[in-house]
């Protein structure tokens, strides 16, 4: 061993442990640093004279070692040795047996002395390589790798394929179920939203149905207030100067009462169901009434509503309630379109003019987000509003057309949208609802 290792002594530090008791050796290898290797030679006896079985002694060293162990004998391979550069004892046995067989059979072995050799080879234990984390790429060429554990793939190919297929199928199923569940959740959420919408719509329509009764309920106290105020006014001495302020106060009560009654009246007219009427409509008056109806809503939404009314006071014929519905819808749309822009810029303009044919033109302009490309805003159920039904403009169009007019909607040059409708002087009322 010393001879063999001598050429390497420059690169390697070699320590020879001889004449030590086996227990001592075992104890020492246990604490070896990681950058060492152990090359156990043959133990036949302790210095104490105890006879050892070499195989078992080596095994103890291998098992205890903190560093990888190598050997010059192959028989230890498979018992914890990383590798050996050696001929195989089994191979040598086979060669000798062949020779003996040749002799026994009387084969001519030639005149020369018969020497048959078994070449040395690098042999490594695949499991130990794995255990110590050695890469196979660093092995010398022609190294015989032993104790290769057959891979699962090689051993149970069909089973593995089947198992993989099942796993794949199950994964696909899980994914499909997850997707389905997500879809269902979305659908449920949408359904719930729609249900809320419908419920809200129902409440609104019930409110509409009840508007007459509600107007009645509010008109009762208004009646009482008005009559009391008039009675009070009659009780106050007419000419006495000290009662001037009291008379004024009562007069204000009467005026405010009338104003409240006017609001109720407008609301009731708007909510009124029933037969369409054809009567002269003062378009300017309708714009003013609608603006008055929306006054608090406009203030709440910080919108500045400006009206630019035609001097000629255009008069058309039609159903004032329906035309007001169109106006209300267009103004509400314009208000919604400006929800996202800064409060100071929310300007809404309603202007009226006398059209060339003597009819009326009404324009509702906003400074909002404008119309979106794609669908026509007049398509039924098309909406860009979160809680919209998509019916407002469709109904407006139907009403305006029933009055023989036209309704157009376009983006304005300076941003925002402009809705414009014309009503002819002599409104034609077709049968349309």
């Amino acid at each position: 061993v010393r001879e063999q290792l001598a050429p390497l002594s420059g690169d390697l530090e070699v320590e020879y442990w001889t004449g030590l008791p086996l227990d001592e050796v075992v104890e020492r290898v246990r604490h070896l640093p990681a950058d060492t290797i152990v090359l156990p030679a043959t133990f036949r006896a302790d210095p104490s004279g105890r006879v050892l079985v070499p195989n078992e002694a080596t095994k103890r060293i291998i098992d205890a070692s903190a560093a990888p162990t190598y050997s010059v004998y192959d028989y230890q391979l498979g018992r914890g040795l990383v590798g050996a550069y050696t001929a195989s004892f089994a191979e040598e046995g086979r060669v000798v047996a062949d020779l003996a067989a040749d002799v026994i059979e009387g084969n001519d072995l030639g005149p020369e002395p018969v020497v048959r050799t078994v070449p040395n080879a690098y042999r490594v234990d695949a499991r130990e390589l794995e255990r110590w984390g050695f890469s196979r790429e660093n092995l010398p060429p022609d190294t015989i790798v032993m104790f290769e554990e057959p891979s699962l793939w090689a051993e149970h190919r069909d089973l593995v394929l089947a198992a993989l297929a099942i796993i794949a199928l199950q994964s696909a199923l899980v994914v499909a179920l997850l997707v389905q569940r997500r879809r269902r959740r979305l659908a449920e959420a949408e359904t719930a939203l729609q249900r809320r919408e419908v419920a809200h719509l129902m409440r609104v329509s019930v409110l509409g149905e009840l508007s007459g009764a509600i107007a009645h309920e509010i008109n009762q106290p208004l009646t009482a207030i008005l009559s009391n105020a008039h009675a009070a006014l009659d009780m106050v001495p007419d000419k006495a100067a000290e009662f001037a302020e009291l008379r004024e106060t009562i007069a204000d009560i009467i005026e405010e009462d009338n104003r409240a009654a006017e609001v109720i009246n407008r609301l009731r007219n708007l909510m009124r169901k029933g037969t369409r009427m054809v009567e002269p409509i003062d378009v300017n008056g309708l714009v003013e009434a609608t603006a008055a109806l929306l006054r608090s809503e406009l203030i709440a939404r910080r919108i500045d509503l400006r009206t630019d009314l035609a001097a000629g006071a255009p008069i058309v014929r039609g159903d004032p309630v329906q035309i007001q519905q169109v106006l209300l819808n267009l103004i509400m749309n314009a208000m919604d379109a400006m929800a996202a822009i800064p409060a100071g810029q929310r300007t809404l303009t309603v202007s009226t003019s006398v059209a060339a044919d003597g009819g009326a033109a009404v324009t509702v302009s906003d400074k909002g987000i404008g119309l979106q490309e794609g669908n026509s805003p007049f398509d039924p159920f098309y909406t860009t509003k979160e809680h919209g039904l998509g019916l407002g403009l469709t109904i407006c169009m139907t009403i305006v057309e029933a009055h023989g007019g036209t309704l157009t909607l376009a983006n304005a040059d300076g941003g925002g949208a402009t809705a414009r409708f014309f009503l002819p002087r002599a409104g034609l009322l077709a049968a349309a609802e």
């Binding site: 208004l222 009482a224 207030i225 008039h230 009675a231 009659d234």
Partner: protein, 205 residues
């Protein structure tokens, strides 16, 4: 010393409205009687009192129109003014056809209410005057003898004395005497007055 007191009968199920209207009309010098239920009003109603009824259109139990009909059925010529919180055209037409003085929407404007009551007052006064005149005429008619009444009917039918005499189997001179007595009893001096009076009580068709 003064004109007979004109009473306004108020019927409204809303206590606040009832009280306020009563106060308003009292201040204007009207005698006011308030009823919160139409049934109560019908029970206590005295057609002999000059006045008008101001009825709320929608009340539990009898509504205004039904109350108007019930008054008519009871033979009362009471002028009626309707008040409503929700005036619709068909109902107002129905009310006016049934003889209402006016149909006013709540909250009723003061001038409108007072004006309607003034018209109701006039209507009631005229009605009562006519009624009184008719009572006088009916009393006078009741004093005619059977033969005199027969002659009157023939005269109103436009027949000449000669024809009437022939119809009744007597002579023209007798018919002339009957006619004079009829004119005296009815207090008229000309044929024209007789026709007018007869028309008032529905004798003339």
């Amino acid at each position: 010393m003064s004109a007979p007191v004109f009473t306004v009968f108020l019927v409204d199920d809303d206590a606040g409205v009832l009280k306020a209207l009563a106060r308003r009309l009292s201040v204007r010098g009207y005698e006011v009687r308030s009823y919160s239920s139409p049934e109560h009003f019908l029970e206590e109603h005295d057609p002999a009192l000059p006045g008008c009824a101001v009825l709320d259109l929608s009340m539990p139990g009898l509504n205004g129109l039904e109350l108007q009909a019930a008054l008519g059925a009871a033979g009362a010529q009471r002028p009626v003014i309707f008040l409503t919180g929700q005036g619709d055209v068909p109902t107002s037409v129905q009310a006016m056809k049934a003889g209402a003085v006016d149909f006013l929407t709540k909250p009723v404007r003061d001038e409108a209410l007072l004006d309607a009551i003034a018209r109701a007052e006039a209507k009631d006064r005229d009605g009562r005057q006519t009624e009184a005149e008719m009572a006088v005429i009916r009393a006078r008619l009741a004093t005619l003898t059977r033969r005199e009444r027969e002659v009157l009917d023939h005269v109103l039918a436009g027949r000449l004395n000669k024809q009437i005499a022939w119809e009744l189997g007597t002579v023209e001179q007798t018919i002339k005497v009957h006619r004079r007595r009829v004119m005296d009893k009815l207090g008229v001096h000309s044929m024209r007055d007789l026709m007018q009076l007869s028309s008032k009580v529905g004798l003339l068709r």
